[in-house]
């Protein structure tokens, strides 16, 4: 019964890619206009953390329904938890429930854990396949870009740090859009994969 209602895995990747793209664009907009202008409408403060938190909730079904490998299950679980954690901490700061600016470190921690999960659950070498290459790239990108939210915790007005943080989500979205052999970006190149099977 469950198998009958499960979407194809690539669709799930593209849905999350769309979510990350939206996250990135919202963060970019905030970085460009600055926190003061962005905060002129109070609801705007809640957009990206709220989206992040909701994406975390939606990642849980991915963890529970795609159980054909234990390590993928654990990786998806860690992304679900840290998306929720990051969104929850930022929402708390935006709402004024959390007062310390160091709660912003939650985003940095989330990127470090997510990047590590990408690298640990991808056991192949970089150039083994497109998926392997993109998993390694996504993992290292998350680890390197974790420096931006770390900088934001200490320099909240830094446009450079805010833009870097936003760029991470856009880069991740592009990676998720093209990590399958029938991807919208770079298409179906593989001879090994045969004809597109879906």
């Amino acid at each position: 019964m469950i198998a009958g209602i499960m979407p194809q895995a690539e669709f799930v990747h593209w849905w999350f890619a769309t979510g990350f793209l939206m996250l990135g664009l919202v963060l970019f907009a905030e970085a460009l206009v600055g926190p003061e202008v962005w905060g002129m409408r109070p609801w705007r403060k809640y957009i990206w953390p709220g989206l992040c938190f909701v994406m975390g909730i939606f990642m849980w079904p991915v963890m529970t329904f795609f159980t054909n490998s234990a390590i993928h299950m654990v990786a998806h679980g860690s992304w679900a938890e840290f998306l929720m954690f990051c969104g929850a901490a930022e929402l708390g700061v935006a709402r004024g429930k959390l007062h310390s600016q160091y709660w912003r470190l939650a985003s940095s921690l989330a990127l470090i854990v997510s990047g590590t999960a990408f690298l640990v659950h991808e056991q192949n070498a970089w150039l083994f396949s497109r998926a392997a290459f993109l998993h390694h790239t996504a993992g290292w990108t998350a680890l390197v870009f974790a420096a931006f939210p770390l900088a934001l915790a200490f320099r909240p007005r830094s446009m450079f740090a805010a833009s870097g943080f936003a760029a991470f989500f856009i880069v991740l979205a592009v990676m998720l859009y093209c990590d399958r052999d029938i991807a919208p970006i770079f298409g179906h190149f593989s001879q090994f994969a045969g004809v597109p099977h879906r």
Partner: protein, 438 residues
Amino acid sequence: MRRALLVAVLAALALPATAFAHASLKKESPSFGQELHVSPRQVVLQFDQTVQALPKSIQVLTPDGRDLAGKPRAVTAQRQIVASVPRLPKGAYTIRWQAISNDGHIVSGVYTFGVRVKAPPVTSAVGAQGPTSTENVVRWLYFVSLALLVGGLGFRLLIVRGPLPPRAQRRFFWVTGIGAVALLQVGIVAFLLRGEDMLQLPFSLFIYGDLSPLASGTRFGQTFIAMTLGFVLVTAFLYLAWLLDRVWPLWVAFGLGLFFASGLSLSGHSAADAGHSWVSELADWVHLTSAMLWVGGLLMLLVVIWPGAPELRRTAFLRFSKLATVLVALLLAAGTYLSILRFPNVHDLWTTGYGHVLLIKLSLVALALLWGAAHHFVAAPRLAAGDGGTLFGRLSRSMLGESTVAMAVLLAAAFLVNTNPPPQPSPRAPVAAHVTRR
């Protein structure tokens, strides 16, 4: 330089993109948990990408562990592995499979099927050894987390209905939040431990093991899915209550918590063993939720009210004392009914392992009840009469003692859940299967 980098990236992306990492089983014959009317001639495993067969790629195991499968071979563009089997007599069989994925990793899995009998759950596959002591401890942690979360919410909504002082409010959200996070983590650990036992693989192979037969083909797995998703929602509403300073999300979280706690009752002895019915499932749920509310309430008194809201100690204690009486009555009534159901003979209490664990649990429950009775009949009247001061200090230590005993009761309950009850009397002994080679 920039152009070379771009070309390198495009070339890497164009390299063989064989779906995602390693191969997954897409279709199999016989299928998971299938009950066949005639013996299959062969076992066919179809993967989503090319695979290589290993000498033991397909094992068809009898209950006594004999492998009946012929030599496995990869066919149909290397996406299928096939092995012939002799004519199988009536009985239950386990298929253990392994294949080399084209990423070089070994992917593995296990499932069961039956020939003219119902297939056993995959957790009872040949080689699986059943719950270990680690699983018992993990289940205990699950119970404790459930008590912190659901019991804590119940206490907040039913006992301390008004606003809490900020310090107590903070403590309440810390305690229930820890319960919520722990519940999700412990649930995942419990699922992985059961999967490890089912697959019987070393860790390096287990991480690529296929857990989908456990997730979708067993009550345990379906409960894991439902309870995980349900308690994610509970966590989200708990968080919303904290963020918005509103009480209504707590009610939603509490309702969802009580509802999804039923997953344990719908997957345990009361739903699967002989004599089960909707009454036994309901009784199990009442037993479980009463225990959670009782233990969770005690812990909230001890950790939230006593240190965080001294002005509410008297009211909270007296109200909880009344609620605890009702909870204990429900707990005992449901527990007695379930014991009668699970014990065909009274002597099973002292002649079976299940009986021994139940006796230990009953002794601990009796101790906790005596402790609770002392609170109800000695401490509560004194508090109602306006006594306080040193009594509050002594009550704090006394509640710590009662909570410790309650934790021990939950530990005994965890062992009890993972122990098989005594068998119900059967009219006929099962016929042993024997194998004829074609």
